[in-house]
């Protein structure tokens, strides 16, 4: 708890000289939710892919502290080890469930895949764990043999969460997890996410352009513009007392409800 789980320094991946992710530094602490906000094209999704090892940086350092407390420099880690980390220490929730689920494999199979990927070979155990995770994300366990192809968007997103959390990852990356959902479904999902994050004490990096989502979930915020972090701080401080011109603009554009 006394050390960041992820420490990024001057991480750069430039698509053009002023596009991509430019010299970003950040720390993620165990159990905290770090929000990354900014408009489309500001580099927030690129940053997420870099930090989660899905894309490699041109320069900079990304240090991850694994379960055993061993520091791992992700930029120098071979793909095999990165993929293993991806299955054990990380979770990745994609905006589009189609990118994060196997739509023609049953819900139970989707959840069980990571367990089987780390060597679980007991059908009964896998099924029991899958059932309990369905309950955890508020999907009727009777749907365990249903294919996500026939699930609603909200259910697909819940299944994606279960599929990721089943191996107790310590750091979860979320890219606009409520992106394509109806407002009412969004609220329910956010509530589930908030509860799980709190109960499991996992660290989360969440990319969103929805300030409401950021306010509800994130402890801290980074505001990105044109590939750079232009403001950061406590979520309510950044949103209530924004300093940078761009952040003020972002906050001013939130629809006021009530």
């Amino acid at each position: 708890m006394d050390k960041p789980i992820l420490t990024a320094r001057e991480v750069t991946r430039a698509y053009t000289p002023d596009q991509g992710c430019l010299g970003v530094s950040l720390d993620v602490w165990p159990g905290e939710v770090l929000g990354i906000v900014g408009e489309s094209g500001s580099g927030k999704s690129t940053l997420l892919r870099l930090l989660s090892g899905q894309e490699s940086a041109d320069s900079g350092s990304i240090l991850f502290l694994d379960r055993a407390g061993t520091p791992i420099e992700l930029t120098e880690t071979p793909e095999s080890a990165l993929r293993y980390l991806g299955r054990t220490e990380f979770g990745i929730i994609h905006q589009n469930p189609r990118d994060g689920l196997r739509l023609r494999i049953s819900a139970g199979g989707n959840i069980g895949e990571r367990l089987m990927g780390v060597g679980n070979r007991h059908y009964g155990d896998i099924r029991a764990i899958a059932e309990s995770w369905l309950t955890e994300v508020e999907i009727d366990p009777a749907r365990i043999d249903g294919k996500p192809l026939h699930f609603s968007g909200g259910m697909q997103q819940r299944l994606q969460i279960a599929r990721n959390l089943v191996t107790n990852p310590r750091l979860v990356f979320m890219d606009e997890p409520t992106g394509g959902l109806d407002v009412s479904v969004q609220a329910k999902l956010l509530d589930t996410l908030k509860r799980l994050v709190h109960d499991l004490g996992i660290a989360v990096i969440i990319v969103t352009h929805d300030m409401g989502v950021a306010r509800l979930l994130a402890d801290r915020l980074l505001v990105m513009k044109q590939g750079r972090v232009i403001e950061s701080g406590l979520t309510d401080q950044v949103l209530d007392d924004p300093h940078a011109a761009y952040t003020q603009q972002l906050v001013a554009s939130i629809l006021q409800v009530n």
């Binding site: 509530d191 701080g233 406590l234 300093h243 011109a245 001013a252 009530n258």
Partner: protein
């Protein structure tokens, strides 16, 4: 025992999207608050009372000076603190009672009020008895406990918020017009809660527009004046 030391705090809002207008709200403000006293921020509308209170909570960031919080675990300067230190202070030391409840979808009144205790790791049995006691005291009918406050009246929402922020015995309580829009009976309950907090040794900083209440609670007034444009 000293709880808050404010030194030379200034704050100017710069509205970049309105032609870079500069709104100075506080200029070189200094004061201290001790445990067991209730200090009231006093001054005309627009003098920065609310902004100052928010700075004491780490919600607004001061431009200069220092705001030292003397917690049981040690001293932290909010102006220079890392967000984690601020969150830690909010978990154990700083309570903020405001007029507005930020409604969280689907979370029940009970869970909302219990949350600050569970974040501190209090035992479930104790949480349950304290939450029930608090909700009863604030005259929130039992039928509302399992509901999310989104549909409640303004007064009910405010009482949920008061219950939530006063359920923990924070060493420092920041009160932003906690009784606005409450009826007389509930105003008395809240005033009594505030007095009890002071009696147990909490340092209180408040804004009260209600003269009677201010007179009843204030040990000291801190006069703030509107900062002239410069």
């Amino acid at each position: 025992m000293r709880r808050i030391t404010v030194e030379q705090v200034s704050k100017t809002f710069v509205l970049h999207n309105q032609g870079g207008v500069r709104l100075p709200v506080l200029d070189q403000v200094s004061f201290q608050v001790d445990a067991g006293e209730c200090v009231v921020l006093y001054g005309p509308s627009g003098c920065g009372k609310s902004s100052l209170l928010k700075m004491l909570f780490g919600n607004y960031l001061a431009d200069g000076g220092s705001i030292r919080i003397h917690a049981d675990q040690g001293e932290t300067d909010l102006v220079a603190a890392h967000p984690h230190q601020v969150l830690e202070l909010r978990r154990h030391t700083l309570g903020f009672v405001s007029q507005f409840l930020r409604v969280i979808p689907r979370v029940s009144t009970w869970d909302l009020v219990a949350e600050p205790l569970s974040r501190q790791g209090v035992e479930a049995d104790e949480i349950n008895s304290r939450v029930e006691q608090m909700l009863r005291r604030l005259n929130l009918p039992e039928s509302l406990w399992s509901l999310a406050p989104a549909t409640f009246s303004g007064g009910e929402q405010q009482r949920v918020n008061i219950a939530r922020s006063m359920i923990v015995d924070y060493p420092i309580l920041l009160l932003d017009e906690p009784t606005a829009s409450l009826d007389a009976a509930n105003r008395d309950v809240v005033a009594a809660l505030i007095q009890e907090a002071r009696d147990r040794g909490a340092a209180l900083v408040g804004i009260f527009h209600d003269d009677a209440l201010r007179t009843r609670l204030a040990d000291r007034l801190i006069h703030l004046e509107a900062v002239s444009e410069f």
